[in-house]
Point group: C2
Chain length 341, copies 2
DNA sequence: ATACAAATTACAAACGTTTGCAAAGGAGAA
DNA sequence: TTCTCCTTTGCAAACGTTTGTAATTTGTAT
């Protein structure tokens, strides 16, 4: 079931391969009659261009890669979906690589992608040192970071303003009278987690509320850690009282709420909760959770557009405009988990 | 920043390209000294094989495609993640295409994938006629269907037994004394929805419970339709009473529960609920939802393994073993939304 | 030293395109 | 008719590999 090639068409029609190629691509001048003839023959013999051969010749694969820690998360799924929508409009396709949050896998995938000569890369790295991508970036292919951005200067990135996100959470709680606000933060290694905690501290400072270290718990973004850290905070509640808690990931928020429910306390009567990335706000079976949200679709769109522009600029031989770090606005989605204190 | 090629290495070392190629690939006989020399030079000059050229020559791209309606759904995300894990172990990468549940997009993507000569395809189609894939299948590339399987004979597929899934739901409810069981079903066009409804009917028949058509609502798998259909069912509850409801998708389950909550009824005291595909059973902030579940990870693994075997068999020139339709077992995950009637 | 087989290496074609350049074809003007 | 100029087409190289076959080197036995 091998498919037709240009040269077979050429032979069939008694013209040269270059003529067929030009007729098919439409870019170059070919007599209209010939073009029609070629097009009909292509139709008749079910000609399908071989993108591999074309890639080799043009050294452009019309392929981008997305490397991320966990595609099963709605957050990443939504971003990828939108990137795909945007770039597929220009004929690009997406190679997906799920690193399982593992730096070795990330490196392995980046190597595989490099040999495949993808035109561009979007990366939600687990290795903030940025060491794994260096070669890629040096090769000249556009790279855009999302979610977790290494602390290097020269790079493109699209994220939300994570400090701002936490400020909004604290602001919401403070506006309801809360001052003793616990936080379930993330690891100190990832820029995302660091920024979110910093935002919390800034917002507290702005309101002259001292940050009680006893109310700062460190989790790892997973359900279990939200659950366990909340249990811990609740156990010490006598000595370190608090009226609200802010968790910086979706799963930790769920875990924390479960811990609260199991302790017999009510939300928001006893404890107010602000979550992060709660994707089904308004769709929860019961209580809507107040949550800081990221505009995933916009993130995806901006990433796609940025990559397309970079690739176009490459073609134009313009020198790359300075690298840009897009900081999008998070937003607070009101639910039913914040009460007045 | 162009990277080194085999012929540059060859020139540098004063040997032929074929020798370098063979030394690098290790398959063929090369004097050990030469191999070392080549390997060192490759290292020194940062040689990276060009997979595109290799693909062209070997007419195998080491690439598979996954085409599905919505990657932002955890269900698909989890499957893709596992397929990726399995096949990347054998050097394959995954191209992802999100059709947005649109048949035209599906066709467009399949065309793009065909010109890219992907080695294999996994497809969660929205077009059960199977017409869009025909060419692909005729080309000889392995195709595996998931989720929604066309009613053709000659194809590979990995799904759960959807009838069995519904039987388990009904069985659970019946065991708790429920006989008037409403169902929020899906469209009549998709095999998945059809099978799930059929399973419901079978299970009812087995228990000599007549199926009341008034208790069968048709949704479209989305939150809103679960919500609206439940509202409708509740509005008619006086004339068509029921003590339980079974919804055949995750989002419809959430929507239905929201509608129940808004009507002031309690779950499970007033109405019992069995859902489908509830991914965070046990992680919900409050009430655990009893749900029929699909083993997504196993589905992904079986898909990956099946594709790898098919591709290996192709190489072996063995004639393809008959097509197989893997029917995996769904399972019931107990929550707190089913009470005795 | 010579011959022969085995081990190693080189040559060249092929995979299916694109594209610069040269060649051919045709039309109009001298 | 011949020359020029423009339009259309063909030739051939290139993209970076793999691989069958031929050529060379090496080792061993005579």
């Amino acid at each position: 079931m091998k498919s037709t090639t240009i040269s077979e068409l050429a032979k069939e029609l008694g013209v040269s391969v270059s003529t067929v190629s030009r007729a098919l691509n439409g870019k170059s001048v070919v007599k209209e009659d010939t073009r029609q003839m070629v097009l009909e023959a292509a139709e008749k013999y079910c000609y399908v261009p071989n993108e591999i051969a074309r890639s080799l010749k043009k050294s452009s694969t019309k392929t981008m890669a997305v490397v991320l820690p966990d595609i099963s998360e709605t957050f990443f799924g939504t971003i990828v979906k939108e990137i795909d929508r945007v770039v597929s409009g220009q004929g690009y396709m997406l190679i997906l690589a799920d690193t399982h949050e593992n730096a070795d896998n990330e490196k392995k995938y980046l190597d595989m992608l490099y040999t495949r000569r993808v035109d561009a890369l979007v990366l939600a790295t687990v290795d903030c040192s940025g060491s794994t991508v260096r070669r890629f970036m040096e090769s000249g292919a556009p790279v855009v970071f999302i979610d977790n951005v290494p602390d290097l200067q020269e790079l493109d990135a699209v994220t939300i303003d994570n400090r701002q996100a936490s400020r909004m959470a604290v602001e919401c709680l403070a506006a309801h009278g809360h001052r003793r606000i616990a936080v379930i933060a993330g690891s100190e290694k990832e820029t995302t987690g660091v920024d979110r905690l910093a935002g919390y501290e800034e917002a507290m400072a702005e309101r002259n509320i001292p940050v009680d270290r006893k109310l700062v718990a460190y989790g790892n973004y997973k359900w279990e850690s939200g659950y366990l850290q909340m249990k811990r905070l609740l156990a010490l509640r006598k000595e370190n009282p608090f009226s609200a808690v802010y968790a910086i990931s979706e799963k930790m928020t769920y875990g924390a709420m479960r811990a609260i429910a199991e302790s017999g306390l009510r939300v928001p009567e006893d404890i107010s909760v602000v979550g992060f990335d709660i994707h089904q706000v308004g769709m929860e079976p019961r209580q809507k959770i107040t949550s800081v949200r990221q505009p995933e679709v916009e993130i995806g769109r901006r990433v796609g557009e940025l990559l397309l522009r970079r690739l176009a600029d490459l073609g134009e031989k313009e020198d790359q405009a300075g690298h840009r770090r897009l900081l999008l606005d998070p937003f607070l989605e009101e639910g039913e988990t914040v009460g007045v204190f």
